[in-house]
Amino acid sequence: MDLTTFLIQCLNAFQYGLLLFLVASGLTLIFGIMGVINLAHGSFYMIGAYLAYALAPVVASAIGGGFFATLLVGVVLSVVFGYLLEWAFYSYLYERDHLQQVLMTYGLILVFEELRSLLVGDNVYSVEIPQVLAGSIPLSEVMTYPTYRLFVSAICLVLVGAMFWVFARTRLGMMIRAGASNREMVQSLGIDISFLYRVVFAAGFALAAFAGMVAAPVSTVYPGMGGEVLIICFVVVVIGGIGSIQGALVAALLIGFVDTFGKVLVPGAAGVMVYLAMALILLWKPDGLFKAG
């Protein structure tokens, strides 16, 4: 592998890792704070991707369109939808046994997948890359790198920075951190716990949906994309340590690199690499890399 190829793969790995983090961060917080194993989290990502596809013509006819306008509308919609979903279903799950949560959220996956099939169909669709970002940046005389992928990495980085700022500097962030390490404590502090839950859930939903939206032009949108992301994100959450945002970031980047380079270096066993990495890490550290609390 020459240096330029290596660089390209690194960029790919980085971008993939950041996208995974956006999905996994919500998953880890929902588990850490509310104690809910949310199997439907992959569906949120899928919903985002399909929103990017389905909203584009609607937004275009309403306000003249544009990828970024679609993105904005999609984020607003998903925050609202996440908020409603928490109110309608998830708020009943907090006191339940983990396996009951698994059963209910599995039911939700089925419902979301079929609604998707009913509303949009089962075909594979592509989403257009916005004009401004459609080009490529030269890396050497023959190699180039698509601008859009760089954009994805950049916007993810901005979001990661914003998230860490919220956690470190705001009152909301303080409550979330406290909740992830010790749920009982937050309840005893007199914080409006159901509001905190609703905010975290809506944010988690929106982050996953946003990841789906920005990934859509690169990955295309297809049935089953939610399931793939779900399993990989669970791997990320568990490697990072449940409830730990830093852990999720490190683990997401790690998985991004293992997966990307696994496909290049050992194409025959690419699928195994991620799980092998996870098994090894958990045998070394049975509670993940960064245990919360």
């Binding site: 588990f31 194993i37 199997l39 279903f89 009943y92 339940r96 046994d97 983990h98 396996l99 009951q100 698994v102 059963l103 209910m104 599995y106 039911g107 939700l108 996956i109 089925l110 419902v111 997948e113 079929e114 609604l115 099939s117 009913l118 399931g227 399993i231 669970f234 791997v235 568990v238 449940i242 025959g268 066993a269 690419a270 699928g271 195994v272 799980y275 092998l276 996870m278 098994a279 958990l282 045998l283 049975p286 509670d287 993940g288």
Partner: protein
């Protein structure tokens, strides 16, 4: 298990034995055979989840390894005898379970769920990506095995009755096992492992033994599945099947062997129902929607699964208390007699 429950299970098995002779058509026999095989898978998982409290999210790997072993051991030369083929397939799955269990039992809780998933995914990709398992296309079974001269497993009726026999055997075996000292120790581990250790039980060998037995039984189910279909592919090891097996036992009601049985039938019959074009016409291809809604409803009204249904009905008829408190009350009584 008290008397009425024992009678219930006996009646179910008798009804299954009579079914092919009283109006079960070819299609029905095929479906019920399939369900009975999945019920074996669900029972094997119940030993881990419901009895020992180990939530394994990779049960399909054992099922799949049993299935692949049955096909690979059969060879291309002629029909094998089922008398060695099934034990050999079970052994293959059990050996794999021994390796996976020895490692993954170092972790706990959600981490355990994910490690078992990770090992199952590895097995999936090994058959998916290597020539050993024929890749995504899978492999065919050249000759279905036989039992003596007469019984050939190409015949659906033979397959049906043999699957039923195996299911009854597995159910009986687990019933005896759970009432033994070993089974009681597993139940103790589920309730309070720390207390068991304080009392003097080294719990690891118990959990590992449960894991290996469970893997072997799932492998038995997988081998039957391969013989029935005459074909295996990597989907048998996918996390979707592991998930479905979990859904079956949760839906049926954890902590009860008959829950696994009821859950497998309910889950798969519901699937058949929502898939039926005669009822739903065009809409039948969206059968997942119906399944999803039923599952969500089941969580809402049946926190103990279907085995808790008679109790819920009894209380509702008696008309005591409000809905939520009643469900809460049932939950605290969970994990009673087997």
């Amino acid at each position: 298990m008290d008397k009425s429950k024992g009678i219930f299970v006996a009646l179910v098995f008798m009804a299954l034995a009579l079914y092919p002779f009283v109006g079960g058509g070819g299609y029905g026999i095929d479906i019920v055979t399939k369900i009975m095989i999945y019920a074996i898978l669900a029972l094997s998982l119940e030993l881990l989840v419901g009895t020992t409290g180990l939530v394994c999210f990779g049960q399909a790997a054992f099922f799949g390894i049993g299935a692949y072993a049955a096909v690979l051991f059969s060879g291309e030369q002629g029909a094998a005898s089922i008398l060695w083929l099934l034990p050999a397939s079970m052994l293959a799955a059990a050996v794999y379970a021994l390796a996976v269990g020895a490692l993954s039992l170092r972790t706990r809780g959600v981490y355990f769920i994910m490690v078992t998933l990770a090992f199952a995914q590895m097995a999936y990709f090994v058959v998916h990506d290597t020539p050993l398992g024929g890749g995504t296309d899978g492999i065919y079974l050249y000759f279905r095995p036989t039992l003596g001269e007469k019984l050939k497993f190409d015949e659906p009726l033979v397959m049906y009755l043999f699957s039923l026999g195996t299911l009854v055997f597995v159910f009986g075996f687990l019933t005896v096992l759970l009432n033994s000292r070993f089974g009681r120790a597993l139940a103790g581990i589920r309730v309070n492992e720390q207390r068991m250790r304080g009392t003097g039980f080294t719990t690891y060998p118990y959990k590992l033994a449960a894991f290996v037995i469970s893997g072997g039984l799932a492998g038995l189910g997988g081998a039957l599945f391969a013989i029935k279909d005459g074909f295996v592919n990597p989907e048998l090891m996918s996390w979707h099947l592991s998930g479905a097996a979990l859904m079956m036992i949760i839906l049926g009601g954890l902590g009860h062997l008959r829950g696994a049985l009821i859950g497998a039938f309910a889950f798969l019959l519901l699937q058949e129902f929502f898939k039926a074009e005669a009822i739903f016409g065009e809409f039948a291809k969206h059968w997942h929607l119906g399944m999803g809604i039923v599952i969500i409803a089941a969580v809402a009204v049946l926190p103990r699964g279907l085995v808790g249904l008679p109790e819920v009905l009894r209380k509702r008829l008696a008309g005591s208390g409000g809905g939520e408190s009643r469900i809460g009350g049932l939950k605290s009584a969970q994990g009673g007699a087997k």
